[in-house]
Amino acid sequence: MIKDLVCALDFSAYAEVALGLFVAAFAVIFYGAMKLSSNASARFASIPLSDDVEDPRDE
């Protein structure tokens, strides 16, 4: 069963399939990222600024 499946695979099309996969994944991520609310985006972007690191001493 598995042997037949592997034998039937056309490896020469892998490159094109992979390119299609990437483009599809990219499109989904891009669309989703653009739909991210400004509020959430601004909040997440500020995470490093609110981690309560001690200020360096000047003396």
Binding site: F11, S12, Y14, A15, V17, A18, L19, L21, F22, A25, F26, V28, I29, F30, Y31, G32, A33, M34, K35, L36, S37, A40, S41, A42, R43, F44, A45, S46, I47, P48, L49, S50, D51, D52, V53, E54, P56, R57, D58, E59
Partner: protein, 790 residues
Amino acid sequence: MATVTDSDSHESPSRSTSDAQLEHFSYDDSIVRMFVTATILWGLVATLAGLIVAIILVLPWLTGGLPWFSFGRLRPLHTNAAIFAFAGNGIFAAIYYSTQRLCKARMWSDALSRIHFWGWQAIIVSAAITLPLGITQSREYAELEWPIDLAIAVIWLFVFGGNFLMTLIHRRERHMYVAIWFYIATIVTVALLHVFNNLVVPAGWFKGYSVYAGVQDAFMQWWYGHNAVAFFLTTPFLGLMYYFLPKAAERPVFSYRLSIIHFWSLVFIYIWAGPHHLHYTALPEWASTLGMLFSLMLWMPSWGGMINGLLTLRGAWHKVAVDPVLKFFVVGITFYGMSTFEGPMLSIKAINALSHYTDWTIAHVHSGALGWNGFMIFGMLYWLMPRLYQTKMWSQKLISLHFWTGTLGILLYIIPIYAAGLMQGLMWRAMDDTGHLAYPDFIETIQSVVPLWWLRIGGGLLYVSGVVMLCINTIMTWSNRPATYEVPVYSAPRLTKAYEDEVSKTDPLKDVPMLELGKKVDALGRMGWHRRWERLPVKFTVLVTIAVLVATLFELVPTFLIRSNVPTIATVKPYTPLELAGRHIFVSEGCYNCHSQMIRPIVSETKRYGEYSKPGEFIYDRPFQWGSRRIGPDLAREGGKQSSFWHWTHFENPELVSPGSVMPSYEHLLTQDLKFDAIKPHVVAARYLGAPYTDDDVENCESISRRQAEFVAAEIVGQGGPAAMHEKQATALIAYLQRIGTDLFRTDPPPADAKPADDGAPADELQTGDESATVDESGAAEEEAQVAAE
């Protein structure tokens, strides 16, 4: 005492910190201090090693013929020190400092943190010992032999990776910031690359033979090599940038949306681009083209990162003028932008035909390493030190001086080397009016660039002096530290398991009369699913792993399973035991650092070196030795070109047979005996991996080797060389060199019971099987390459 609240608490009024159990914790900064110290120490070692190899290149006699200091052995020491010691420790310092703060949690295990630190330093020291001793796989950035590789896998994946993942699981900040994503991608992918590229069959404690051979070994090696650049020198540094740049600029990152897009794009695309290191080689054309295509696509997400970094400084550029930390970051990110534009450009086949094997590659690499990696680390260190040592920096002026010295150093390094690369590429392909090579003597092309190599030494000196300034500033700052470091204690609630963000809670289309499908698409687009991933470290790690694995398999499976990728050549036979021993010497000495073994189907190249290389010629080559730089001529057709005595003299003193050569003397090969009794494990390993050695070959490999060594020694005597040298290492290396590239043209006598060929097949087709088809394809490639070249 500082108090930290759940950053998401304001999102969900229904929850308050009083509902959750308040926990008290402090950060482990001592481990960060340890990694900072190691980063600075190894930074000095790595840059000094680079300076030394640059000097050895123009003054090869400086080594005095001592084998441990030859360019071939020290260059990998420099690259390993720069990547794994300097950049590696810098990455760890960044990760240990930022992860704790981004997770509002101490590292999960202090013990694992320390095992990681000391284990990694032990690995670096073992590399520093073994590489000069000639214990190497001779595969770029993967030179270390299998016992050290095992240690790397354990320390990296289980100790560092385990500690990191457990810290994420026990974090008190619900959302995983983008820097953490980059760290996850780094840990997962480097582990995958390292393990699968270093699968070997041991032939003793200090030697392992790759399970891949020839074309497939080259493919795997550059899948690893390219992605070492991607996931060791890029993604963790982007994580570093996303944390430390906003901290230093006191501004949030420019676009969080852009960070999401460019993170996933990088993870998906980078993994494919490795074949661009193998354009016009014996790698199948489809893989090369695919590598080029994805490399070109890679430009966009890379520049997404650069733009996100530089635009984070919008409204804060006045700070750059006065803050040397920001200066380091700005120049570092600019070099990242330059390198990531140049990389895709160099992946274009026509450009690669000119640049490959030349110093152009070296300039490209150093603009990235010195500019991006070096400066990002320096900026981070100068920002960290006042916080870690709890005192102000000893000298701000010295930081500025370091910045300007380093910047000038980079420029003085890369500009002459770009010029050297262009000169080499153009001289190698130059033809006169009669259709002959304009510069037939390879040595002429090297001598032309030596003055530029001297300029590089000046640039290197400046860069090293900047690192010395860093060392002085660090020591003086450290000596002003308080008697006891303050350890602030923070309080934060443990994250509750039940959590629903506003994306899931609110549906703006709830009461809108429209198709359910439209509502579902809108819900998908609002990225609630991605937001969930960002709160689930294990799931996120699994998804990154799947992304990398899927991309890898789509390239790997066809490479290994399509038989026509490597057409069989009937006359290609395994190396004799002595030749195998000679090849082991070739590998140990790191000859691939200067001599490639791959003739591309380009007219100027076939005129200079001979028939272009075929994939079927390398099926017994473990590791492959195609190289990526030519400081000396290509050796793919070296067999039979020179007399054995010529090679003997060449090892003794290259200047005698090749005036102006920059190759050091390999006199030790003429004086040290070959251990004939140590050849057997190599033959056994090669046989295990598929080389058709008989039982007799294995059992009698010592006597077979001695017979061939006596034959080579007799040849040397017959050509005017010294007598009784059959037991010297040089005889084995000469036997190997005289064999390289000859199998393609060998005509074996037909067996006694051979029948005449039927159906009119020509004799050469019987000899070479499917290779004839390859010749046709490559012939077309040759024309194409030549058009590009002209």
